[in-house]
Symmetry: C2
């Protein structure tokens, strides 16, 4: 019998009012697929209880999450747009970190459109056919779900950002994308179902 | 004579209409401090010329940037808010990647306010004194410039996000923060001025 593999669950759902129950449901789904879920320490009272101030609390959360990502066999990243057209920057940072650590990574988003579709374009056509936003900043039109670094990190790891149109009320909470990532991870890692 | 150290210059200025000249100016500043600048391949025709489609172009850029980050001795990250209240997700990903690779990292932003100040808060007070946005999502109030993972990655590396109020026209182009990072890197790495 091989030891169970562990998966770090990154995503902005830690900021939801019902984060603990959402994370518990996602962790249970990981167990259904035969994996141990490692959940970010943002909502863990044991992590945030001891430091006296915001600086200390945030550093304690950072160190807890860094340790979990170092321990995890692989990561699954909820790349659903958060407070703007792109994924949560904390999640993007963690995708980079686990990529740098040489871990396998998977990701999903609760919206199906390309990144470029979420950026209002300038009325006039840009020079050289390049699409630009209201500020004149270039809009990547590569058919990607987000900034190319995110999509391509997953592609380089043998996967891609899995897109599913979740109902608005289930945004960030939906488990369809997570389940698809877990199924792919199980196939890749030859893990038997629990 | 020791070999010159190289620095990867990450940031959303690659999306500016005048990106090549902005990057050239920033690279020249690095040289003034005795460092060789490694500039992302986004605007390099040699990187984006050969692939036939957007998927191929984006993967070529990803691989070029990954190689530069692997080669670089350290990284400096322009974490100025981009298309929302947070840093560019591509830059956040790269900060994570170089952190995962064990490289020293520095960062700056062209705005001085805390992250929490850029998120419209809900009118009513949240439960337990927690600040929440219009969607009910938690707003981190740790006195940080952005999501705690970004600030704390720099703090764990011995630095912090350096904040400077750049004029609006110089947003993303300003070199004050970059110069401060370069000065700190030179002190840390005991590099003589060119």
């Amino acid at each position: 019998m091989t030891p169970r593999r562990s998966v770090y669950l990154a995503g902005p759902e830690v900021f939801l009012p019902d984060a603990p129950s959402v994370m518990a449901r996602k962790a249970a789904l990981c167990a259904d697929f035969g994996f141990d879920a490692l959940v970010p320490g943002d909502n863990d009272p044991a992590v945030s209880a001891s430091p006296a101030d915001g600086q200390g609390v945030s550093m304690a959360i950072y160190r807890a999450n860094l340790e979990l990502m170092t321990l995890a066999d692989f990561g699954i990243f909820n790349l659903t747009p958060f407070r703007g057209p792109s994924a949560d920057v904390g999640t993007a940072f963690e995708l980079g970190l686990m990529t740098g650590l040489g871990k396998r990574v998977y990701g999903y988003t609760d919206v199906v459109g390309d990144y470029a579709e979420r950026i209002p374009a300038k009325a006039e056509a840009g020079l050289g056919g390049l699409r630009r936003d209201q500020d004149g900043w270039l809009v990547e039109t590569f058919g990607r779900a987000d900034n190319l670094m995110l999509d391509c990190a997953l592609e380089a790891s043998g996967s891609q950002i899995l897109r599913h149109a979740a109902p608005a009320t289930q945004r960030l909470r939906d488990i369809t994308g997570l389940a698809a990532c877990l199924a792919q991870a199980r196939a890749d890692l030859f893990v038997s179902a629990a």
